[in-house]
């Protein structure tokens, strides 16, 4: 059967990275890290369905999630963040989630390993993720302007950073519960 044709869509692109897994591995060993990651992926997968995520792709100790409606992003992010304080696997371990959010066109494709999302805007979301600290979401200005007003509460002042191959990208930081 032929793979469906690639679909270009405007999407809210979320990247989440766990901070602290290297330290956890050193302190408690690889098996504990594997258990934590398994739970992280299972819970994030469940929450992505609950919050109408279009595609979620797991990458090592991170994930990329795409939403058609940007209003669904912050409830999803807060649900994932709450795992740190409510899920026994995460409680008491020095872990933190680093999130980034960008909005723009991306290509949804079917590949030999499953669904994927490609495009320059995925790179921007990844570069923004590098700027995020634990318990924080870095939101591009483009995405912030599309977020519901109540989701912008706590947004810090605007910052600008040059992103390779793109140029200057404006963004702000929003602290998450647990920060």
């Amino acid at each position: 059967m032929e793979a469906p044709a690639p679909l270009r869509k405007s999407l809210a692109l979320v990247i989440c990275d766990i901070a602290g897994t290297t330290g956890l591995g050193a302190q408690e060993g690889d098996l504990v890290v594997a258990t934590v990651l398994r739970e992280f992926f299972e819970q994030a997968g469940r929450l992505s369905t609950e919050h109408h995520c279009l595609i979620i792709k797991f990458l090592g100790d991170s994930f990329l999630a795409a939403f058609e409606n940007v209003a669904n992003v912050m409830p999803f992010v807060l649900s994932v963040q709450s795992l740190l304080s409510q899920n026994p696997i995460f409680i008491g371990r020095s872990l933190g989630f680093k999130f980034s959010l960008h909005y723009g066109d991306a290509l949804c494709i079917e590949t030999s390993y499953g669904k994927d999302i490609l495009g320059k805007n995925v790179n921007i979301a990844a570069r923004l993720n590098d700027l995020a600290g634990p318990h924080e979401i870095v939101v591009s200005q483009v995405a912030l302007e599309r977020m519901p007003i109540d989701c912008r509460v706590g947004a810090g002042s605007s910052e600008t950073r040059s992103v390779k191959g793109v140029g200057d990208v404006e963004f702000c930081r929003i602290p998450l519960p647990g920060a």
């Binding site: 990275d17 990458l59 590949t111 030999s112 390993y113 570069r127």
Partner: protein, 219 residues
């Protein structure tokens, strides 16, 4: 007195770092014998490395068991060291193809190569530091790494052997200072022990057309 007290601090220099892995060298040695095939293959590789490296600033050749760690230095410009290193790697691949045509199949050499640039600690016959680890992480990237990358190329388009990968730093230098190589991003990857996302590039040369089975065609 502790050993570390007696030794002077190592020299720190910026060098181009190349990691070369001999594809399936352990399997070949197990199948055909270390003394019959494996040892000579590794010695041939070392000889070829010496030949292509000596005029290009090769400073360190360290065995990694199934390959070599090489560093290149240019006294005038660190960026030129990266260009010389890439030149050396492609010349090495060219000579290996020529050699492979003249030897039996089990003696053929096939490589995976990675190039990075960064500050290293110079210790006798070796190099240390995080940039060395980075070069090894780049060399470990394979088709299987791509599903866990952001913006990956299709895994089927990634060759199995005889290819050259490089870091963002080297890609930047090549795009500014060298026109006879092409760079293609293979995706953004997380490399073990290093924070953040790293864009990894594959270097290709018009002189070495791609064949996805073996990475490059024998000319």
């Amino acid at each position: 007195m502790a050993v570390s007290d007696a030794e002077p601090m190592p020299e720190i220099v910026t060098e181009a770092i190349v990691v070369i892995d001999l594809v399936e060298s352990t399997l070949t040695s197990n199948l055909f014998g270390w003394y019959a095939v494996g040892r000579q293959s590794l010695r041939d590789l070392r000889t070829l490395i010496g030949e292509v490296g000596k005029v290009r600033g090769l400073r360190c050749v360290r065995s990694t068991g199934d390959g070599y760690l090489l560093t290149f230095f240019d006294p005038q410009s660190a960026e030129m060291a990266a260009i010389r290193a890439v030149e050396a790697v492609f010349e090495l691949l060219r000579r290996i193809f020529a050699r492979n045509r003249q030897v039996s199949e089990e003696r053929a050499l096939n490589l995976r190569c990675a190039v990075h640039l960064g500050e290293v600690d110079v210790v006798p016959n070796d190099r240390e530091g995080p940039h060395i680890s980075m070069a090894f992480r780049l060399e470990e990237i394979s088709r299987a790494s791509l599903p866990a990358a952001l913006n990956p190329i299709p895994p089927e388009q990634f060759p199995l052997q005889n290819y050259v990968l490089c870091s963002e730093e080297v890609a930047g230098i090549l795009s500014r200072r060298a026109t006879h190589w092409e760079l293609a991003s293979i995706g953004l990857l997380k490399l073990k022990g290093f924070p953040g996302w790293r864009e990894v590039f594959r270097i290709t040369s018009e002189e070495h057309p791609t064949d996805l089975g073996s990475g490059m065609r024998a000319l």
